[in-house]
Amino acid sequence: MIQFQNVSKIYEGDVQAINNVSFNVDNGEVVILIGPSGCGKTTLLRMVNQLESITDGEIRLHGNNVKELNKIEMRRNIGYVIQSNGLFPNMTIEKNVMIVPDLLGWDRKKQRDRFHYLMELIGLHPDDYRTRYPHELSGGQQQRIGVARALAADPPVMLMDEPFGALDPIIRNRLQEEFLQIQREVKKTILFVSHDIDEAVKMGDKITLLRKGEVMQFDRPTEILNHPKNAFVSEFVGQDRVLKSMSLYSIKDLSQAISLKQKVESNDTKTIKEDTSLRIAISILLNQEADQIIVLDDAGNNLGSLTLDLIEQFLHKEVKRTEIK
């Protein structure tokens, strides 16, 4: 767990980069740090592993004030990924990935096994890459290696500064998906810098929106999207924020909040799985000539049907927090 308590940072020359920031990154959670360029995201991230000093306030890592920890030891227990991957051009991929375990004195066999595991995890064949060098790899592959390297010694906490920022949209999207998959397996405590609200909404359990070094809102993505605290937040997340939030709810969420329509016996309507997002459901309903789709559970049982009316009701209940009469 990472706790920021009234943290401030003033750079030389009186530049106030961070101003009285407080929030927590709970264990196993991904918190996205987002905001316009120059708002202090990188600074705040780098204060956690003491690459930048803390001017005021405290950052606690698993309850300990980071200022009191041994810097070198602490950093070896935190995974660190940066945008331009920062791989060592003089080392093979295996040496790169295994740098921290090597510093920690792991034996050869343990390193080998770990390398195998990590490469499988990021979807690259271990033996194809072991003896190759960073310059032989594509940008996407290098970034994957960067993630594997950060995970190498199995640190409980990860700091990631726009790890997919330099990649083209298709590759970025794929890496985001892979990353979520990996996170479901490894359950790390992650502070993740992004400047892309779509990425933040997709990847974050919570989002911290910064502006000029101050926290504008710290909340779950649905809250940020549906209940922006002020004009800045609302403008930052964009006018399509409600539509964006629809991708965060599944039909199941809807059926738990308000019930689906009674079963209808009809052959011509389309069916949909209950874990599908509302965004896709809306899209299908708008495309379809029929005004309802049959919702099925995993076993294929008919649970009822979904209509645009129901989605609107859900919207009012969940998003606008008002009931339609």
């Binding site: 810097k71 660190y80 331009s84 060592f88 510093l103």
Partner: protein, 248 residues
Amino acid sequence: MSKQKRIAIIVKAFFWILVLAFFYWVVTNNMFSRIIEDPNKFFTLLTQHITIVIVSSFIAVLTSIPLGILLTRPKFRRGEWLVVNIANLGQTIPSLAVLALAMGVLGIGMKAAIVALYVYSLLPILQNTIAGIDSVDSKTKDAARGMGLTPKQILWRVELPNAAFSIIAGVRTALVINIGTAALAYLIGGGGLGVWIFTGIQLFDNTYLMSGAIPVTLLAILVDLGCRVLQFLLVPKGLRLAREAIKS
């Protein structure tokens, strides 16, 4: 094949034909007669020449590389300007003047020659060490720091391997310059193959001149080649790939 490459090959071929023609002339005109008549003297001069070069360069390496490393540490960064300028001074003064100065302080002999050449080789090695270390991507160093490498580990595992190419290039430059400049050691009684070269000039005797000058030239070419092999062996493969990737 690109046009540039073709031109380069033609120029090289032309150069080597000239070299071969020259050697043919040298051998057929018995220009190496001094070496054949007095091989002992030749080996004495050659040994002196090599000793001057090796000892001076070796001490220069031992001075310049650690100095370069020191000057790229954050603490001593500000000293860089001063030290490089002092070393620059040694380089700007004509080699003959450096020799004369050394002789003035240390008297006649090989020691003065070694000191003069030492001063002369400091700068290329120092500059290349600093440039090599500075050329390491700051993002790479930042990643290393963030992962918990100590400054010493960053130096040995990241900075020096990445700077190796540049450092060896500096040593190569220093060695090749020294081999040529060591011929001047004769002027302050330091011995070396310069003895025959200057005798040849004074007596208008081409056999002396060639018996001294050609071994010096060959020595320079050989050392240059040796350094390139060393570069190939010592520079990590990944960096070679990186350089090639940038070039193409």
